[in-house]
């Protein structure tokens, strides 16, 4: 592990901690997914900004374009082995942002009903313990 990577991780952590939600509601921002082909799986990424003073948790997600979804966390095990762990829920503490990003939390889309191309958008409904249902548009893009 290079110093650059350590520094990058520290910076990312600082940014994460430093990024206080601006609004006083719970918001889902910057939802995106990579292009993919029909029948295949994909992942949706976004930032959950909990501007409320109440702890919340993401319980589930649903989309019309896939046969099912799962909340996952990618994680590394010993010896460079990567795996995914299904999550019952993902905690979103009060006044904090939780990032769903490549290599970490993601909503897995299982069995896409149609191909997704860069520039496409589709809705995703997220169910939170306290905030209830929030629907946002997911933008399909390469990165």
């Amino acid at each position: 592990m290079s110093w650059k990577k350590v520094f990058g991780t520290l910076l990312a952590l600082l940014l994460l901690v430093g990024c206080q939600p601006k609004s006083s509601t719970l918001e889902v921002q910057n939802a995106w997914a990579r292009p993919s082909i029909a029948g295949q799986n994909d992942a949706v990424y976004f930032v959950i900004a909990n501007g409320t003073s109440q702890d919340d948790a993401l319980l589930s997600a649903s989309v019309e374009i896939a046969s099912s979804t799962e909340l996952h966390m990618s994680m590394s095990e010993a010896n460079d082995v990567m795996t995914m762990k299904p999550m019952q829920e993902v905690a979103v503490p009060a006044h904090q942002n939780v990032e769903f990003a490549p290599g970490g939390y993601h909503v897995m889309l299982v069995g896409l009903a149609k191909p997704l191309e860069a520039g496409d958008t589709f809705p995703i409904r997220l169910i939170f313990k306290t905030a209830g249902q929030i629907q946002v548009q997911v933008t399909v893009k390469e990165q």
Partner: protein
């Protein structure tokens, strides 16, 4: 008079020091950003079917820099993220891209055919190569390249997660395993190393 002499001496020392540093820097072998194999080892042979039915042999690729990455097409996060990183490094090579080959080999032959592997990599770049085969064909490749794989439990719809080694392995133009990267390497670092390897002399190890 003494003072002048001291200055001249000091200046000479500084010049000598500068010359030593310059020699060291120029004479130093290239500094790769990936993890270097020490010593370099000949990359074990890979002989697997491509989507078009032809056999892919790693030993036929000498003269090219080959990046090997092991994964599976049901992988929604780690594999596409890594292939997107490789695509960025590859695209930024410009006209040198034809000296580099990117190969995606399955760790999940029960679900992945050579065709589905090729479809998967085509989403990133149609010149990437997707390979599969029988477990019997693949097992020696996984073993020789140190690729760990473990199939997770099947869910209600028969889907399962495959935990797998996510390192990118780099074979140089001479057919030696030269570098590797852990998951999450930046494409700029990979690009930097690829340029060094492409420009590496023919006989140098």
């Amino acid at each position: 008079m003494d003072r002048k002499l001291a200055w001249v001496g000091l200046a000479s020392l500084a010049l000598i020091a500068l010359a030593i540093v310059a020699t060291l820097m120029l004479g130093k072998p290239p500094q790769f950003r990936g993890t270097t194999y020490d010593p370099l080892v000949p990359a074990p042979e890979i002989a697997l079917k491509k989507a078009n039915g032809e056999e892919y042999r790693l030993t036929d690729q000498k003269g090219k820099v080959v990046l090997l990455y092991f994964g599976y097409t049901y992988c929604p996060d780690i594999c596409p993220t890594t292939l997107a990183t490789l695509k960025q490094a590859y695209t930024n090579l410009g006209s040198d891209a034809n000296k580099v080959e990117i190969v995606f080999i399955t760790v999940d032959p029960d679900r992945d055919t050579p065709q589905s592997m090729q479809r998967y990599v085509n989403q990133f770049d149609a010149s990437f190569i997707g390979l599969s085969g029988s477990t019997a064909d693949l097992q020696p490749v996984w073993t020789e390249y140190g690729i760990f794989r473990e199939l997770g439990p099947k869910d209600a719809s028969g889907n399962y997660i495959v935990s797998h080694t996510a390192r990118i392995l780099v074979v140089d133009k001479q057919g030696n395993l030269h570098l590797s990267y852990p998951y999450g390497e930046q494409w700029q670092d990979i690009l930097f190393d690829l340029r060094l390897l492409i420009n590496q002399g023919g006989s140098q190890g």
